[in-house]
């Protein structure tokens, strides 16, 4: 029996990376044979993959070496800004002020869950040690931004499409909460479905990337699984926090203190 911990990580040199690049040319050949005209985009995508990931590798190596709070904070700020942008550009509708609300949601849900995991669950010292903090935060943000975008899309759609029914309820004496509750619940539901589905099939259908990575790096599969369990629960917590916060912030914006629905604040995204 091989002790998994004795397996050394095989270093990938440039020649091996070039071999991997050869696999993309298979996709390019298919595109040419079928005249899909995807060669150009494939080439750009391949180059972007290489450049973006090499840059990330360089930056992370530097940040890990520095162990500087400022460098870590800068990386986190960039991650959150990119996640916020993605979260508000995906939904079909938007409103003025959607971006800062999505940003606040991601900051709070992402950082709170990640820091809870590094400090309390894993017990990393110091808690901001970037080898733990940055990858974990990246996973939370990736899932939270999807959830935030889904919530936002579902809620704005529901408020626009059900405007007449919501105003009918208000007109018969419903509070804004009573009139909005069904739409809010449906939006949180939509945001949480992906992570719940992921928890259902993890380990059976999908082998999560983080776990696969740890196993490839020589970790004992059982240790990798333990981390993956922590990660799944962390994602569930982060996603639910993001859904609830986003929906609450949109609700407070779309309904006035006089129990009016401000449907005119919702605009269709033009781009």
């Amino acid at each position: 029996m091989n002790d998994p911990s004795s397996v050394e990580l095989i270093q990938l040199d440039t020649a091996r990376l070039a071999l991997a690049a050869g696999m993309v040319t298979v996709a390019g050949a298919v595109s040419m044979a079928l005249r899909l005209k995807l060669e150009r985009q494939l080439a750009i995508g391949a180059v972007r993959t290489v450049v973006q990931l090499l840059l990330l590798g360089l930056v992370l190596r530097h940040v890990f070496e520095l162990q500087s709070v400022y460098a870590i904070a800068a990386v986190i700020a960039i991650m959150i800004a990119a996640a916020t942008r993605a979260a508000v550009t995906r939904p079909k509708r938007t409103f003025r002020g959607a971006a800062w609300r999505a940003g606040a949601t991601l900051v709070l849900s992402g950082i709170l869950t990640t820091v809870f995991v590094t400090t309390v669950v894993v017990g990393v010292r110091p808690w901001y040690q970037p080898q733990y903090l940055i990858p974990l935060l990246g996973m939370v943000l990736g899932n939270a931004l999807t959830a935030t975008a889904l919530c936002l899309d579902a809620l704005l759609e529901s408020l626009s499409e059900n405007r007449a029914e919501i105003e009918m309820e208000l007109a018969h004496g419903a509070t804004r909460w009573e009139a909005a509750r069904a739409s809010l619940a449906a939006a949180v539901h939509r945001g949480m479905i992906p992570i719940i589905n992921a928890m259902m099939v993890v380990g059976i259908v999908s082998l999560p990337g983080m776990m696969t990575g740890q196993i490839l790096a020589g970790a004992d599969p059982f240790e990798a699984v333990k981390y993956q369990i922590v990660v799944m629960f962390m994602l569930a917590a982060g996603v639910s926090a993001a859904c609830i916060m986003m929906v609450w912030l949109v609700y407070r914006h779309m309904f006035t203190d006089n129990h009016q629905l401000r449907c005119d604040a919702i605009a269709k995204r033009t781009t």
Binding site: A164, E167, M168, A171, H172, G173, A174, T175, Q260, D264
Partner: protein, 232 residues
């Protein structure tokens, strides 16, 4: 106190999408009084009703209900007493019974839902008890309009704000609704402000008519700027 109007609106202005539609309107409605509100198409009648119900802000003016600023005791409480029924029927995707029951589930409700009362009210609008189990959205527009009126009457408000309440009804159903409104106002002291297109209907149904024409604000653009988001 006996002369105090139920609804007393002073120097009202209403606007939609930043365009002023109505200015300087004074409007009083007494208990048991049916008042018609008329004016040209798109002049802001619907907007005015929505603003009176507080679903949108007034551009100016004050509205008193039973002598106190409306909304002072909470907007849900005010809207429970002064119920707006919009022209286009708004019904939940559920049975007629669930639609009639829904307003009794709000915190502001003082009575609980009575199925007998619901069936009786539906019957007053010419809808039999077999309608209770049907999906409200599967009904014809005229039937939906009557379910909406029944739902509003069932919670026993002091006043109704009705936007073209018979627009989707045939003449028989229209006569039935008119007779019913007349009876409820006489017997129960219900007041109503009714937006109507037809001046004959206004004269037939209501004690008096408020014509909005003297209160229309000059429009900067086309006369048909109308009210956004309102189905016509």
């Amino acid at each position: 106190m006996a002369d105090m109007p139920l609804l007393d609106a002073r120097d009202l202005s209403a606007s939609a999408a930043g365009v002023t539609l109505i200015t300087g309107l004074d409007l009083q409605v007494a208990t048991g009084e049916l008042v018609a509100l008329t004016g040209p198409s798109g002049c802001g009648k619907t907007t005015l009703l929505r603003a009176l119900a507080g679903l949108i802000d007034l551009a100016g003016g004050e509205v008193y209900f039973r002598g106190a600023a409306r909304g002072a005791a909470g907007w849900p409480r005010f809207r429970r007493q002064v119920v707006l029924v919009q022209q286009k029927p708004a019904l939940l995707d559920d049975s007629v019974e669930a639609n009639l029951r829904r307003p009794f589930e709000y915190g502001v409700a003082e009575q609980s839902f009575s199925k007998e009362a619901a069936v009786e009210t539906l019957g007053n609008f010419g809808l039999t008890s077999s309608f209770m189990a049907q999906n409200a959205r599967a009904l014809s527009v005229g039937e939906q309009q009557r379910v909406c009126l029944a739902r509003a009457l069932l919670i026993q408000p002091a006043m109704l704000l009705l936007d073209e309440p018979t627009s989707a009804l045939d003449s028989r159903a229209r006569d039935m609704v008119e007779a019913l409104l007349g009876r409820v106002t006489r017997e129960h002291g219900l007041a109503a402000l009714v937006v109507l297109h037809d001046e004959h209907q206004a004269q037939r149904l209501c004690q008096r008519t408020v014509d909005l024409r003297p209160h229309l604000a000059p429009r900067p653009h086309t006369a048909d700027a109308a009210t956004p988001g309102v189905a016509r």
